[in-house]
Symmetry: C2
Subunit: 361 residues, 2 copies
């Protein structure tokens, strides 16, 4: 079955596309990947409504506009639409609060992704599944993380314990014990990913050259690593606001120390699982040669990237939503309760069937 996955991430750079062939035993072959960057005014509009006050007209219009752009991004990826059986679209998150808060007398967790699936289905003529996170929240989960499902499907090993490490703004790991069942999977945020480094060398320190050239402030590093978060037992997650501009200002951290903080905090997290044989890295941080070197030196496990498994380090999330759509299409659950906190596995997402000519009768 050929499935397309679409996502625009929290960095709001553009739309990631992956087209994959999924065989009946869940094996994934990547057919094509593409990135469709947003026009600056679209990016600004998304940022202006994200986690802030806006007119509902702007949100509604952006939802439909992003539907058009997501469909266009798939068309531009150059795979014949007639060969694609299904689309899984994450959309663009503009609000997410997985922990329930008091709201009009009820405890409410919530999430909101935009990128109208009805538009994607209509423009492509392909059945489109979207809105994956609300189903997990409805089942008592935090609507995140969803990526451990892909890690479990692709990276678990009958004899080796593995860790899938994603280094985005925040770094997070999926722990896959040898011969893991779904319930054995553990997933949590380890601490900063690229976020602190990016703030010190915007937009980013390509290959880690700046960090490599600097000197680690050992006193500051040890003080930062003493923060209780790194010692706390999972499940745990850290906010993106935690390692932003304020953190940089308050600590006076330099980029060499930031890189080392990232590597060491990841090392502390993975160190909890000493049986780990391989660490499979993805996310933007996988491009940072210096960071990868430091991880190699700090970890006892072999450090590799998801590319070794045919999963490009930048396209893992788009592939995830192709896989989750495939699950939903077959009426199968797509969340991992041990990762998201849901009460049970549930079928994720909403299906826009699209209209084939024969349906019109």
């Amino acid at each position: 079955m050929r499935v397309a996955g679409l996502i625009s991430g929290t960095s709001v750079d553009g739309i990631d596309v992956a087209v994959v062939d999924i065989d009946t035993d869940g094996g994934i072959q990547v057919v094509a990947t593409a990135i469709a960057p947003y026009a600056p005014e679209v990016r600004s509009a998304i940022l202006s409504v994200s986690n802030s006050t806006a007119h509902v007209a702007t949100i509604a219009r952006l939802n439909f506009l992003l539907g058009e752009l997501f469909a266009e991004a798939l068309v531009q990826a150059g795979v014949a639409l007639s060969s694609i059986d299904l689309i899984g679209s994450h959309g663009q998150t503009i609000f997410h609060q997985g922990e329930a808060v008091e709201f009009l007398g009820s405890k409410i967790a919530s999430t909101m992704q935009i990128g109208e699936a009805a538009v994607i289905a209509e423009r492509t003529g392909i059945q489109t599944i979207a809105d994956f996170r609300p189903s997990d929240i409805a089942a008592g989960g935090k609507g995140a993380p969803l990526v451990p499902f892909l890690d479990y499907q692709l990276f678990r090993h009958p004899e080796h314990a593995r860790v899938a490490l994603n280094i985005g703004g925040i770094a997070n790991i999926t722990v896959l014990p040898a011969n893991a069942t779904r319930d054995d999977v553990i997933a949590f945020d380890t601490g900063p990913g690229n976020m602190v480094m990016d703030a010190l060398a915007p937009p980013f320190d390509r290959d880690g050259a700046c960090a490599r050239a600097g000197t680690v402030n050992t006193a500051l590093l040890e003080r930062l690593l003493a923060a209780p978060y790194y010692q706390r037992d999972p499940p745990k997650s850290c906010g993106r606001e935690q390692y932003g501009a304020e953190f940089v200002l308050e600590t006076g951290i330099d980029i060499a120390t930031a890189a080392e903080l990232t590597a060491r905090s990841i090392g502390l997290a993975i160190g909890r699982y000493p049986e780990t044989r391989e660490v499979i890295v993805s996310g933007g941080g996988a491009h940072n040669g210096y960071l990868m070197e430091r991880l190699g030196a700090l970890l006892r496990a072999r450090v590799t990237t998801s590319a070794e498994f045919g999963i490009g380090v930048d396209t893992k999330e788009a592939i995830l939503f192709a896989l989750l759509a495939y699950q939903t299409y077959h009426g199968r659950a797509g969340n991992l309760p041990s990762a998201s906190g849901a009460r049970k596995p549930v079928v994720l997402g909403k299906i826009s069937r699209g209209t084939k000519p024969e349906d019109s009768a």
Copy 2:
């Protein structure tokens, strides 16, 4: 097949529930209806985000809270959930603009309904279809009106021309020529429904007693009826803002004249179709005995209500969304392009499958 329909209308009073049995030839038997009024603070919160500026957190939380309330409203309707095969939920509209406007360089029509379907599906264990309007907009339609599909299914007659008249805030008609095909159906807003009367005697003039006791200001009435809107050819629609408080202030209209304006403007619209044999009334206005009398006097056709056809005048919209869900479930179109302006009939809505225990494997 037993299907539940759920909607909260533009008056934001509460959730209308209808549970119906639909047989294979499209016949509908109403099993139960119920209304679950909103708590005042929920109503206020909905009004505060509707067509206005709000924090996206409020919209996201309201979406999930309304999902809970919609599910609860169905539970309270007293029909065993295990007997219900499918739910169609319209949700609560918080923004609708069927006509495309310029937005970041594109022409964008949009609509937004809240009342998270994933929550409804999870709480009830029943497959839930929602978000009907975006599919019609994606196909070039205005996302409204959708009710002509129900009128066409239930009220068309092989030999008689009929008009289905809904008197809500605005009044609108569905014209069903004798032996109509889908393409023959015409639907448009006739002008004010209850809105002007309601503004003069809030919350409403029960049975029309105030209007009956008053005296029509004939000069004002004729001046108002000379407005070009009433003469214009369909398709046409009038905004709800058009007959609100400002209209009342500017015209100095009294309630007797308002009732007569409603009746006469409906009469002008139906008068375009002199072959009409029956007018089938639904909506709140059907309870206004004085208005119904005036319509009976003004129209040459027989005036009756949808109740004669087993469709309660207050539950027609909830029944509509049960019927539209039934269509989508069977992969069949649910819009009428001649009414909504869509380029073609399309399968409406998004399907939240819900999770049966065996799916979790």
